[in-house]
């Protein structure tokens, strides 16, 4: 029994160290300011693109459902990026391309990202007056 307890204790210690590593890794490498810089670089003078900051979107592999859901929206331009969506998990940003002249439905975008398992928060868009950053409309 002592033998089991010793190994169980070592496992718990290993797990604790692993958890600390995982939690400590998200030090403040990313901030609202770095997202604005990234979004500006991608969106400048491209009115048919928007960017969305989605909380929790840190992994491309887990986030592929975002592309699956967004690419089903009629107004998304599937010929741009990868089926209309470029993912930047380092900044938790999604870039979505829309067909020229089509106004994106922000609530539909919110729903698609939420249904993919994430919490979309802000959107970024280039306008005549520069970059705007605003909350997405709430889900009904």
């Amino acid at each position: 029994m002592n033998f089991k307890l010793k190994h169980l204790a070592s496992f718990i210690a290993f797990g604790g160290i692993s958890l600390l590593l995982a939690h400590s890794s998200y030090a403040a490498k990313v901030s609202p300011e770095t997202r604005i810089v990234t979004a500006t670089a991608q969106l400048e003078n491209k009115p048919n693109l928007i960017a969305v900051y989605a909380k929790g979107f840190v992994c491309n592999s887990c986030g592929i459902g975002i592309r699956i859901h967004l690419s089903k929206i009629d107004s998304v331009d599937l010929t741009s990026f990868n089926r209309g969506v470029e993912m930047d998990p380092a900044q938790q940003l999604l870039f979505i391309a829309f067909k020229p002249g089509v106004e994106p439905d922000l609530e539909v975008i919110h729903r698609a990202i939420y249904d993919a398992g994430y919490e979309p928060d802000l959107y970024y868009r280039w306008t005549d007056s520069g970059l705007i950053v605003a909350p997405l409309p709430p889900l009904n």
């Binding site: 995982a22 909380k55 859901h69």
Partner: protein, 272 residues
Amino acid sequence: MRPNILRLFALLVSIHSTSFADQPIMNMMPRWDGGYGIQVLAENIHHSDLKKGKDVIASGHSETIQQLHLQGVYTWDRSVRLTFKLPYVTDARREVPVVGGTKTIEHDSGWGDLTLALPLKKYFNLNQRTGNWSLTPQLRVPLGNKANDYSIAKRVWGGGLSLGYETETYDFYFATSLTAWTFESPEAAEWSASFDLGWNVRNDLQLLWESDFKWDDEDAFTLSAGPAFYWRYSDRVHTRLEWKHDFVSHMGSDRAQYGNGDRINLGIGLVY
């Protein structure tokens, strides 16, 4: 005389469980509403010795199991999934000691027992981190073949419950779980714990170190650990290679079991 000895030995040697706690697909997908997937794993397990308790009672008497696992998942929404896991033993062989110091070889093949699971997940999405808590009731359905006394499948009903926690940042992945299984007589109840730590090398590549701690109510327990590699070929196609070595392999004191094992497992999964 010899058949009787073999039969007695077969009764004394327990069936080694080859189930593992991971859920399809690669334990992490799909987390989106209406998502589904299927994966196939090819697994090779090799146990080097026949043991009783801590002691090797027949050195060099090995067991090798080669099997395919067909697994599937459907996600209603992020909090509710249904999964199935069905193994098929392509070939299993074990070396059985007989009187006089020689050994004979037994084989098994065919379908294993079906495992159904209902992972219930509570996701959290934070700034630069995501994760979930999970509660997974499971059911083992005895579909396994019974060709002879040597059978990889348990062939009894069983019920299991897992508690899990996963979290991931852009760089790291961490998962832990506790699982309990109880089976119809005469199979022993089992408990297991796992700790997985992963490093996201690239957006499409993850390296992991996985550790499993498993014991049963016949006093057997195994500590196995090893590396795993996950590679996303495309949004649809995902692959995983895993190797686990038994660093501690203690069998029950009442029954002989094959231990000191290594397990290699290669999987490919498709998600939609």
